[in-house]
Each structure stands twice: as structure tokens, then as C-alpha cells.
């Protein structure tokens, strides 16, 4: 399958996607890097010039930056922990011989298909709203004060919403992986005297390692860029309490209209993402040998 002519044809076929992706990535990235060293404010277009690392210094000196960084890691970490743990438990449950498997899967997977703004708006308005939300109604039913979810606990609320969106994904993948475990292996373990708990610990969990790695990798890719949920619900507030790095950069660019600073933030985000990506790629490289 490897004659000269096919090799040449193959190059031509790969070229378009490599070129467009390269342009899509490199050109804007180079521009961002350029802007990040410039004074560039849309509100005062007459003032411009090189400012060295000033934009970066502003970022590192801004308390908001460290908050945003923490929030980003909280969001990614929190959602990963919740979805993987609950995902394993729910997958275990659905893997049992239960009636209506097909319908159950359909119900469980549904939230994954809900677009982020809709998901955010359902939770914000129908559930977490302090006057009209279902949670408030339940609280009042018990004679308690409604909890101001998005005002008092903005990050936990956002994490909960995002975890709800991604739980189906984790569950479905872990369930699929679980179903590929041969029942003979479990029966052998049972013959060897393993209790249900040790069967889970020594047979099922190791079998799921690869699936869990994949869940973590893919969710991280998407979670690092979470935007729509915050934009729709808290707008990063109150104050900056639920501002993540992507949202902080977005605010710098769109609200403060300071392109230079936003660009510096963008470069910082790229560096952080690369650090995360480096470790993830190394693990997935091992697991995805096709």
C-alpha cells in the first residue's frame, strides 16, 4: 500500500487540512502575541505603541487574575471529580440487569445534547432563581429562606451546572467500557472468592482506567474553554467571584476594550493550556495507539 504515486497523492490529500488549521492557529496567535506587547485600547485609539511586558505585568499584579486562575482550575477539577465519580456509580447501576435499559440511556444522555446557553438558562431561571425557581419554592415549602445560589455561591453553582451537562458523557463512556468487560472475568474472580467490593476494586476499576483517562482528556479540552454557561448566568459575578480565565480575557476585550491586556491574557492562557495539554497528550498518546 505504499508505492511512490500513492504517497504523493496522500501528501496532497493531507495538505488542505494542515494548511487551514495552521493558518487558523498560527496567524491569530501571532497577532495576539504582537498585540500583547502593544498599548492598544479601543476607547483611546490615538494612543498606541510598544509597552514591553506591561500588559503581562498588569495581569500578574491583578488580584482578579489569580482568582480567575483558581476559578478555572476549580471548575475543571470540580467537574472532573464529580462527573467521574458519579459517572462510575451510575454506570455501575445501569450495568445491572434493569428493565428499560434503552429508555434509561436516552434519559441519562439527554443533558449532553442541551446547548450550554439553554442549560445555563434552565438552571438559572427555572431552578436557582431566588423568587421563581423550583429550589426557592422547595425552600419556602420547608419554611426556609431561599438560597441565593448564583449570588452567594456562584462558583459551586456554575460547577454544578457544568457537571450536569457533562455527567451523561462520562456515564455513557464508562458504561460502554464496563459492558466490554467479559463476565467470565467477573465469574472467575467470584470463584476465587472476591467480594463485590474487591471485584470492583481489582477487576472493574482497572478495566475502566483507559475509559477514565479518555473522559478526563476530552472533558478537559472542553472544560478549559467553558464560556457560554458563565456568560448566560453570572456574567463572571458577583464582582469577579465566578470569573474564569477565558471570561476575564473576554471582559478585558469586550467590556474594557483593552486589546493589549486581553491579548496578554490570551497568551498566558495558551501557555497554561499547553502545560495541561503536555501532560494529557503524553497519557493519551499511550492509550490511543491505534
Amino acid at each position: 500500500m505504499s508505492t511512490q504515486s500513492t504517497r504523493l497523492a496522500a501528501r496532497f490529500m493531507v495538505a488542505p487540512s494542515v494548511i487551514v488549521l495552521f493558518i487558523w492557529m498560527i496567524v491569530p496567535l501571532a497577532m495576539t502575541a504582537y498585540f500583547s506587547f502593544r498599548l492598544y485600547r479601543l476607547l483611546s485609539p490615538d494612543r498606541s505603541g510598544w509597552v514591553g511586558f506591561n500588559n503581562y505585568v498588569w495581569f500578574f499584579n491583578s488580584p482578579d487574575f489569580w482568582l480567575a486562575l483558581t476559578n478555572t482550575l476549580l471548575l475543571v477539577g470540580g467537574v472532573l471529580i464529580i462527573t467521574v465519580i458519579l459517572g462510575v456509580l451510575i454506570a455501575l447501576l445501569l450495568d445491572q440487569p434493569v428493565k428499560g435499559q434503552g429508555v434509561l440511556r436516552i434519559l441519562v444522555i439527554a443533558p449532553f445534547f442541551v446547548m450550554p446557553p439553554v442549560a445555563a438558562s434552565i438552571w438559572e431561571n427555572l431552578f436557582m432563581h431566588p423568587q421563581n425557581g423550583l429550589f426557592a419554592a422547595i425552600a419556602r415549602g420547608f419554611g426556609a429562606q431561599p438560597i441565593l445560589f448564583l449570588e452567594s455561591y456562584p462558583m459551586p453553582s456554575v460547577i454544578a451546572i457544568v457537571a450536569w451537562e457533562w455527567l451523561p458523557f462520562a456515564t455513557l463512556i464508562l458504561l460502554t467500557a464496563m459492558q466490554s468487560l467479559s463476565s467470565e472475568q467477573l465469574e472467575a474472580a467470584e470463584m476465587d472468592g472476591a467480594s463485590a467490593l474487591s471485584r470492583f476494586r481489582y477487576i472493574i476499576l482497572p478495566h475502566l482506567t483507559r475509559a477514565i483517562t479518555v473522559v478526563i482528556l476530552i472533558q478537559t479540552i472542553f472544560l478549559l474553554g467553558i464560556f457560554g454557561e458563565i456568560y448566560t448566568t453570572t456574567q463572571g459575578g458577583p464582582g469577579s467571584a465566578s470569573t474564569t480565565l477565558p471570561y476575564m480575557i473576554f471582559k478585558q476585550a469586550i467590556v474594557a476594550k483593552d486589546i493589549g491586556r486581553a491579548a496578554a491574557g490570551g497568551i498566558i492562557a495558551v501557555i497554561l493550556a499547553n502545560i495541561v495539554a503536555y501532560f494529557l497528550m503524553r497519557s493519551i498518546g499511550k492509550h490511543l495507539d491505534a
Partner: protein, 276 residues
């Protein structure tokens, strides 16, 4: 599981599974229920269920608001358009990488996936400015391009893993049988790859339909799809709960249905074949 669980245990696990599944599904269900209530009934406290006044009015009203069908149509054009364009570019690439792998193929694939890791905000400003310059801002074609590029690595990866499963010997057999490159693609490769291509297409339509960063950044009103429209549906303060729910329900329904059809393919597709 060959072992027969006791009926009692079976009943318990079934009940537990249904309870958990309904709990997860409940927010969607509640939204759909709300969309059929009158506005007053939607915000009633305590919440009304059996005694609520049901109506189809919300759907009629949302749909007849001159803008909603346009947002809907924009979503259709952008998600389908970006997916088809992406497939057109990705199919030859994935084909070549799967069947004529070189020393660098794996690195190339990893690089493509790594472009997905780059935070979109980092390139938001230049792309915003470039789109303004090129007249692509707030146009459907601009969004089609942006979403195609955003999802291209995933499309290529998914196709690659599907193509990888087609045994190379079959393509060699076709060449021995006298098929040139194009008849090989038309008569052998495409029919065998069709299920994979179809599920790649479905999944990418879903991803593009639900995309809510570039759609918000790169549009104002003209080309805005549903995701941008709903995101800007600001603070209804209880006045438009039912209508918001109806608009949301209509926004997610096509994808919910597509998604349910493709859920079998979803797992292996989104895990790039790592989990089957």
C-alpha cells in the same frame, strides 16, 4: 450477566436506576413542562403541575416573533454547512493518514488534536478583527468557516479511527482488481466508511449547533444562531419563563432527537475509537 439476580434485587436496582435517570433528566423535563404552561402558571408558587393551565400559546408566539425562525434557520445553515465543509476537507486527509501512513502521521494527528486545546479566547481578538476586515463578521459564511475550523481536528480524528478499521488488504484487493483511486473511493471505501462518515456528521452537527463561544463573539443579530440568541435572552425576571422555555425547547429538540439516534456512535466517536 448470565447469573439470574433475585427478583427482589432486580426490582430494587430497576427502581434505583429509574430514579437516578429521571433525576438527571428532570431539568429538561421541567423545562418542557414549563413551556406548555401559561406565564402565570409557570411562576406560580408553590409550583403547579396537575392544576396548571396548559397552552400551546408560547410556541405559537415564539415562532411568530419575526426573529425566532431566522435564528433557527441560521442554526441549521451554520451547523450543517460547517459539518459538510469540514467533511469535504477532512475525508481525503483522514483517508490518506489512515491508509498511507508516514513517519510523521501520528505527530500530525497529535498536533491537530492539540489545536483543540488552544483556548479560543486567546485568538478571539485577532479573529474578531480579521472577520471585521474580511467582511465575515456577523455572516453565516463566516460562522460556517469558524465552526468548521474549530471542529476540523475532531472530524479528522473521528474519520481516521473509522477508516483505520477498514482492512488495508481490501483496498489492495480493489487495486489488484483494477480499481483506480477514484473507483476505489467510490465503490469500496465510501460504502464501507459510510456508517462512520454518517456518525461523524451527526456528532459534528450536534457540536456546531451547541457551540456558544464563537457564535456569541462573531455575530450580533443578522447571522446569530439559536445559541447566541438564547444566551442574550437576558434576565427575564419571571415575566417570560414559559416563552423562554418554549424557545429553549425548540432550540434543543432537533439535537435531542439527532443525539438519541446517534448515541451508540457517540461514545466511540467522541473518544476517537478509544472506547467502543
Amino acid at each position: 450477566m448470565a447469573r439470574a439476580a433475585s427478583p427482589r434485587r432486580r426490582l430494587l436496582t430497576t427502581l434505583a436506576a429509574w430514579f437516578v435517570a429521571l433525576l438527571i433528566f428532570f431539568p429538561v423535563l421541567w423545562m418542557i413542562l414549563t413551556s406548555f404552561k401559561t406565564e402565570a402558571s409557570a411562576v406560580a408558587s408553590p409550583p403547579e403541575l396537575l392544576g396548571a393551565s396548559w397552552t400551546l400559546e408560547n410556541y405559537v408566539e415564539v415562532w411568530s416573533r419575526s426573529d425566532y425562525p431566522r435564528f433557527f434557520w441560521n442554526s441549521v445553515v451554520i451547523s450543517v454547512g460547517s459539518t459538510l465543509l469540514g467533511l469535504a476537507i477532512a475525508i481525503p486527509s483522514a483517508w490518506a493518514m489512515a491508509f498511507v501512513p508516514g513517519k510523521r502521521t501520528k505527530d500530525l494527528l497529535m498536533w491537530m488534536l492539540s489545536t483543540k486545546m488552544m483556548p479560543a479566547v486567546a485568538v478571539m481578538i485577532p479573529i474578531y478583527l480579521l472577520f471585521q476586515q474580511l467582511g465575515l463578521f456577523d455572516t453565516k459564511i463566516g460562522l460556517i468557516l469558524a465552526l468548521m475550523l474549530m471542529n476540523l481536528p475532531i472530524i479528522i480524528w473521528m474519520l481516521y479511527t473509522y477508516f483505520k478499521e477498514i482492512p488495508g488488504e481490501i483496498l489492495e484487493a480493489a487495486r489488484m482488481d483494477g480499481a483506480g483511486m477514484w473507483s476505489e473511493i467510490a465503490y469500496v471505501l465510501t460504502p464501507m466508511a459510510l456508517p462512520g462518515i454518517a456518525s461523524t456528521m451527526l456528532l459534528n452537527i450536534i457540536l456546531a449547533w451547541n457551540e456558544a463561544f464563537w457564535t456569541i463573539v462573531l455575530t450580533t443579530t443578522k447571522a446569530a444562531p439559536l445559541s447566541a440568541f438564547i444566551a442574550s435572552f437576558s434576565a427575564p425576571q419571571g415575566l417570560f419563563y414559559a416563552k423562554l422555555s418554549a424557545a429553549s425547547a425548540m432550540a434543543i429538540m432537533p439535537i435531542l432527537i439527532l443525539g438519541w439516534f446517534s448515541q451508540k456512535q457517540l461514545v466511540r466517536g467522541l473518544t476517537f475509537g478509544a472506547v467502543k
